[in-house]
Symmetry: C2
Subunit: 432 residues, 2 copies
């Protein structure tokens, strides 16, 4: 086989890692692809910006046409962020006959159907392993390796920033703002970490995985989500007392209809998912034949993400991507195979924390409200009262048996309206 | 694309699972392969044997020629065990123009080079995802998904039977024979579990993974291995005191030369590998770009293994296997890329347990022997003496810093020759 000429658009952190692998590990790439991958052009916006990697002079350019006009460049890693320019560039690349590899999850979450349709019309392919969970090859595992299965559920720690922050809160007893500041200092959180900590990033990734695994067509904005930005260190402490850790989990569960949500969730200690620390990501996939498979790795960072991009470049260069792309018909005009269920009907166990006035009959009233909403109690922890100013606050933690989201929501609304409730109650799902 | 006609040879436990998926989940297979996979023939030795699955009358046959003579059958799942008949059948199938999918790890470990060479000569392919770790798609992950990386180490719990037995010893304080009996009663161990518990099975799988990841050409019989059949419940207890669990790990580590071995190994609690329970398998792969990726799933059993076989059938039917097979040139005439290092030079931390007579100066003498062999001590546990008949046995547990296998072996030989040593000393590696 002849060489494959490769282009890169966007030479940021990930793009530089991709360039480095292609340039410095050329012999390895040749061995794994059966032929040579040659970095022909790398397109950047600002040629004068200092780069962490030295590129041959004829490779670096600020002219996208040097790729689109070169029919010898077959495969392009499109690594610019955002969604507007990225979409335009992606369309130009497809229209000039390139197969695309991308790491841009927001682009796919917002414009997947348009881009995939266009690629199909033009008989091109799009590979996107790096768009979800960086170094964990979850896209190929779901789309190819587990293809004998009906996936019945997915659950994952898809946002490394959130996991880092929650791990620090847990290990060091830090409160949320301190943990965020530490994550920023160490480079695990952006200056504005909103999209990471409010669940948006995880919901975007979940929408991609849910399409791949279930044929769902759900925009990330429709996915109910709670971030870690409202997480209270007290709940980490109580969860630990109960033998649980709290993780920001993205969940997809098929039960006739599809349940999707992102929220802080209690995971029992000793389960692999509970042991995911720092900025690691993890995904559990349950298939009807394979059972439970668990993947754990670095979900972000320059070289883990570059690893995913380059494996996609190899897959595209050798022809595997084209087959997978044609076979799976992702984001095609086909009707979605599953319907998103009403979140109020989603069922699971709950962790509830009430902050109440120390007063006879309160526990009985709460138990009564829960009972009337068909929520049965699995365990209760009531500690000694804490004195805050004039009030004696009693934290009351209840673990429930399986109940619906709707019932839990309604019961908590009712309890929150009681005079004895001193703070908004907390409710979190418990992983099955 | 037209239908792909598929044959199965061997309708045991896994073969029946594969037939069930092809027959009962036909619509799903069509969706994931982009065209229909049709089970055309299933060849068995004994037609009169009752089967757990009802096959159409024209599918079940005892005549291999009904597959080899039918040019319309393109892909065959070769699922008979053992190595002699399996090798002959595999060659006949290849020579009749079939692409092969197999779950037979012993066959590949013993005859891989011959079979892969023959397949290449005949322009056919062999897929073998199911041969290692059943439901964990480790072959595709190493061979394809992590292809941007130089793998630097692999460590895995590759034998579910051993893990089940060790888990039971640990959780229930059972001794080895009782745990084996329970594993047999529950169907997790064969009537003769020798190959599982003495490390042979894990070494065979490791030889396959080491070829794939490092280009090593090492016969499993050259891999130093210790099974769990000599594991003493006392060591599980001491390991636990130190915050470790014991797992039968298969290790491959690249450090200039390649270190390969299979042995019971201490793994620190809280690491995902330590949390692998029951008959689950797990593999950690470290790549120079991706970092550490951890996979966990069911390593055996009918449907997890069938899941791997059927995903290989789909990959072969759509053409991905052919590409991977041609690209990777596995077990080709190419020289091995790495050399197996001398096991005596392999380095790691050790857990040592001495059983000594309670006598002044003994600890000093042991420390002296270790020191002369350049082994430094990280921690010591010495408990009260236990009285056994006339002797007072003192168990002395030492965790070392990094030392070589050769030094540890020599030091233990020396200590075992001392008068104060009452039982053969125990030495186990500690996972880095």
């Amino acid at each position: 086989m002849e060489n494959t000429k490769v282009g890169i658009v966007g030479l940021g952190n990930v793009g530089s890692g991709v360039a480095r692998l292609l340039l410095e590990e050329s012999e390895r790439m040749t061995r794994h692809a059966g032929h040579q991958l040659v970095l022909a052009k790398a397109v950047v916006r600002d040629l004068s910006k200092p780069r962490e990697i030295d590129l041959p002079a004829d490779v670096l350019t600020d002219d996208l046409a040097s790729i689109t006009d070169d029919p010898e460049i077959r495969v392009v890693a499109q690594l610019i962020g955002g969604t507007d320019v990225a979409r335009t560039v992606m369309l130009r690349l497809l229209e000039s006959g390139k197969d695309i590899v991308t790491a841009n999850k927001a682009l796919l979450a917002d414009h997947g159907p348009e881009l995939f349709d266009r690629a199909r019309e033009l008989n091109r392919s799009i590979a996107f392993e790096a768009s979800v969970c960086g170094g964990i090859p979850i896209i190929t595992n779901i789309g190819q390796c587990l293809s004998a299965n009906q996936i019945t559920s997915l659950s994952g720690i898809l946002n490394g920033t959130s996991n880092f922050i929650v791990s620090r809160m847990e290990q060091e007893g830090a409160d949320y703002p301190a943990a965020v500041a530490e994550a920023q200092r160490l480079g695990f959180a952006e200056a504005d970490p909103t999209m990471d900590v409010d669940g948006t990033d995880a919901a975007q990734k979940l929408s991609i995985l849910a399409h791949l695994a279930f044929g769902a067509r759900v925009h990330w904005d429709e996915i109910p989500r709670i971030g870690i930005d409202t997480l209270d260190a007290a709940d980490l402490k109580y969860a630990k007392e109960l033998g649980y850790r709290i993780k920001l989990l993205a969940i997809a569960k098929l039960n006739g209809e599809l349940e999707l949500h992102v929220s802080p969730t209690l995971v029992r200690e000793g389960r692999p998912m509970a042991e995911v620390r720092e900025a690691y990501n993890a995904v559990t996939v349950v298939g009807d034949a394979v059972g439970r498979v668990f993947f754990h790795g670095l979900g972000a960072g320059q070289m883990p993400t570059a690893s995913a991009v380059v494996s996609d470049l190899i897959d595209t260069a050798v022809g595997r991507t084209r087959i997978t792309f044609q076979t799976l018909e992702l984001w095609s005009g086909r009707a979605p195979r599953v319907k998103l269920g009403d979140h109020a009907d989603a069922r699971g166990r709950f962790y509830l924390r009430f902050t109440i006035r120390d007063h006879p009959g309160v526990l009985g009233d709460i138990a009564g409200v829960l009972g009337r909403h068909d929520i049965s109690i699995a365990s209760v922890i009531q500690h000694e009262p804490e004195v805050h100013g004039e009030d004696e606050l009693v934290p009351l933690v209840i673990m429930t048996h399986v109940a619906s989201e709707g019932a839990a929501h309604a019961a908590i609304e009712e309890i929150d309206s009681r005079d004895y409730t001193l703070q908004k109650s907390v409710r979190m799902r418990v992983l099955d």
